[in-house]
């Protein structure tokens, strides 16, 4: 009888700990050995002694945290390539969340657990798609675990944005988005929709876009959105961190029309906070149907939920004969992205 994962994969104060393997997955504070699903700051914390992740995640961590804080020793693992750590078999599968994002698959004496990190099932031109892995325990997020969250096709939202640009050709459409993942996906979606003009960027987004390009994701011309280029900003689509779109930085823009790209934009009350004029429902997290479909697809009799709206997901899983359990991991962003 294989050992149930709750005997060897435990929730500790520092996060999810694989006891026989002697390592944490996405630990909340600095530890000796960490396996990191992806480079968002609530999953990839600084100061670990040894870090295992995809090469892309390690590169993104070095860019964001600096060489010293991104792990004293870094070890890259390719998707699908297996490794044995103290008798625990470990391999990574794409999670489809952002570039480099991976599910951590663990097997100990015939029992298998998959820690999925953050994920989505929609196609994303900037990262490989999620691959389901059959398992005994599936560890999932539940950011958008309410049936009201059904993300429309991202292409449809981009089309809405471009219609608005046609209607207000003299204004700057400034899209608030997070620096890692969302920004690059938006750029790639815009390129795919035929928007080949330069996309001026807020300074906070430039470095990660450059790194994406070095890692093989083409994004086209991305000049800095500087005051000196003010006349070029009229009629442009500009990307910036959400906090900047209605603040002093935005004064360089031509009558800025603030947009925000997030799964939360599905709910009006959330969208109306902060003066957004064009909410775009574009998310890098699984929506409600994706969460349910994924939990069924991996055929796990038991699903552990790290953070989000556990109650609804546990209820819906029970109706499908799946046992859901809330881990109440602290320190995970309530906000989408980072």
């Amino acid at each position: 009888m294989p050992p149930h994962p709750d005997t060897w994969l435990r929730v500790t104060e520092a996060g999810l700990y694989c006891e026989p393997g002697g390592f944490f997955v996405d630990p909340l504070r600095a530890v000796e050995r960490a396996v990191i699903t992806h480079a968002h700051s609530d999953h990839a914390r600084p100061g670990h002694a040894h870090v295992l992740a995809t090469a892309e995640t390690l590169a993104l961590m070095r860019e964001r945290l600096g060489e010293e804080r991104a792990g004293r020793a870094q070890q890259a693992l390719r998707y699908g390539e297996a490794l044995t750590v103290n008798g625990v078999r470990l391999w990574l599968r794409p999670a489809g969340h952002v570039l480099g994002s991976a599910q951590v698959c663990l097997e100990w004496r015939g029992a298998r657990a998959v820690v999925s990190g953050d994920y989505k099932r929609r196609p994303d031109p900037t990262c490989p798609p999620f691959e389901p892995e059959r398992c005994d325990v599936f560890v999932t997020e539940a950011t958008f675990a309410l049936p009201v969250f059904r993300h429309p096709p991202a292409e449809q939202e981009i089309a809405r944005l471009l219609r608005s640009v046609a209607l207000f050709p003299e204004r700057t459409h400034v899209i608030g988005c997070y620096a890692l993942g969302k920004a690059q996906r938006l750029i790639a979606l815009l390129r795919a929709a035929g928007w080949d003009r330069p996309i001026p960027l807020h300074g906070a987004l430039a470095r990660l876009c450059a790194l994406y390009e070095r890692l093989g994701v083409p994004l086209g011309p991305l000049p800095p959105a500087t005051v000196a280029e003010k006349e070029k900003l009229a009629g442009a689509i500009v990307l910036a961190p959400p906090a900047a779109i209605a603040d002093r930085w935005a004064r360089r823009l031509a009558e800025p029309l603030p947009c925000l790209a997030s799964g939360w934009m599905r709910v009006r009350q959330r969208a109306r906070q902060g003066g957004v004029e064009l909410p775009l429902v574009i998310s890098d997290h699984a929506d409600w149907p994706e969460l349910l479909a994924t939990c069924e697809e991996v055929q796990a009799p038991e699903v552990w939920i790290t953070h989000g709206r556990e109650e609804a997901l546990i209820h819906a899983l029970a109706q499908r004969g799946i046992h859901g359990r809330a881990l109440h991991l602290v320190g995970r962003g309530e906000e989408e992205g980072e």
Binding site: V148, L167, A246, R251, V267, R268, E277, P279
Partner: protein
Amino acid sequence: MSLPAFAELLERLVFTPGRAGKLALLRGWFAGQPDPDRGIGLAALAGELVLRTAKPALLRELVAARTDPTLFALSYDYVGDLAETIALLWPEAAGPARPAPRLAEVVAALEAAPRAEIPGLIAGWLDALDAGGRLALIKLVTGGLRVGAAGRLARLALAAWAGVEVAAIEEVWHGVAPPYEALFRWLEGRGPRPDPAGAPVFRPLMLAHPLEEREAAALDPAEWCAEWKWDGIRVQLTGGPGGARLWSRSGEDISAAFPEIVAATGFHAVLDGELLVVRGAEVAPFSELQQRLNRKSVTPRLQREFPVAVRLYDLLFEGEEDLRPRPFAERRARLEAWFARNRPARMELSPLIPFGSMEELARLRAEARAAAIEGLMLKRRDSAYLAGRVKGLWWKWKRDPLTLDCVLMYAQRGHGKRSSFYSDYTFGVWKEGELVPVGKAYSGYTDEELLWLDRWIREHTVARFGPVREVEKALVLEVAFDAAQRSSRHKSGFALRFPRIARIRRDKPAAEADGIEAVAALVAEAGAAPA
């Protein structure tokens, strides 16, 4: 695909704060949508679409039959709005989507279908729409369509799109009906101007420019008539064979809210006047009239407690005769003669004020302290009645504003060009050692002052609540306003009319700002208005 397009328009209007942005959205709608959908959309936005509506309870039943009760409860709890919860939660059918209904199709079907078929119809449409479309449909069929695009804004957008004066549209507006195909044909040059025939129509009002003290001194008293500027709402009364109507300044039909005025309009004429709450010879302050505004209908109790009357300014039509091209002095004589013959109930003449010199008029203006008087109107004796604000013919010469030295308490960012600036200010006065807010202002300052205030606010923030910053109670603003009124709706017990920032008093310590007793002293007495 017109319902999804309408849903997108609604969504954009809800999220667009600025008037210019809303106008652009509406112009896009008129230019891009086919008939009759664009006209139905226009009617829906202008509040002129009369549908047999469904009760929210019906929608709730429909969704309950399709969803898990626990998940519904959790979702409703999270979203907070029933219509939005249903729109978001409605299960989407797998497989190829059915074509979305057209706006015209929905309206026609609701009109014609037997009551028992309505639930099935609505469910079928919901199945064929996405979340935005479902929300628009639910709002439409439950009569809960509320967007910030009132009729006036829709007509302004129509005028801008068609390249005509809004006055031209207002003149025909009340003679056309949804879906306005004749109106669109005319505006696109494909048909004749719709003829309102006998139907009562609104004639655009003549408006006045503000007058400065030194400009007033230069006027020749012989060329001008003066009358009081009453602090009510400007209205137009039309009576004739097609019926009687009361219109607001912007051409909204407000007859239903003031049935006693309509009942008194048993004549054939078009009149310009001011609607006021009047008790005997006493005109009540504007705050009392507010109790009667923005209502779809009125109760007998409200009619008793806030009795209304119209003070007449002008006669535009007598019978079928259009007097608007005639000089003001002639129209006034016709008005007086007409009034003497007809003596309609709930109406009186707004008296002309005799004066020999501009100095004398200035003195009369300065001495007028009654709450119901905003100042003076000066009308050139030879002025024809022209739509809109024509310079040099009519002047409004408001009383000097009142001022108070207040302390800035909170600031909020503006929209559009001001979206990064803290440009909306809440200010207060002292009451028993504490500051109580007395009003909000978002105008009056220069661009330089706005920059300075924005910087000061950022450097003196003590707390943040979403888009609002609370600041140190250290900056005194001189606030100008037209009148102070007692108000039970405000915590301080007072409300200010048209407050604006007159000056930044960097020289004055906050402790020396005004107290609540200074506000009380400025509250004008009701009554005492010269009749």
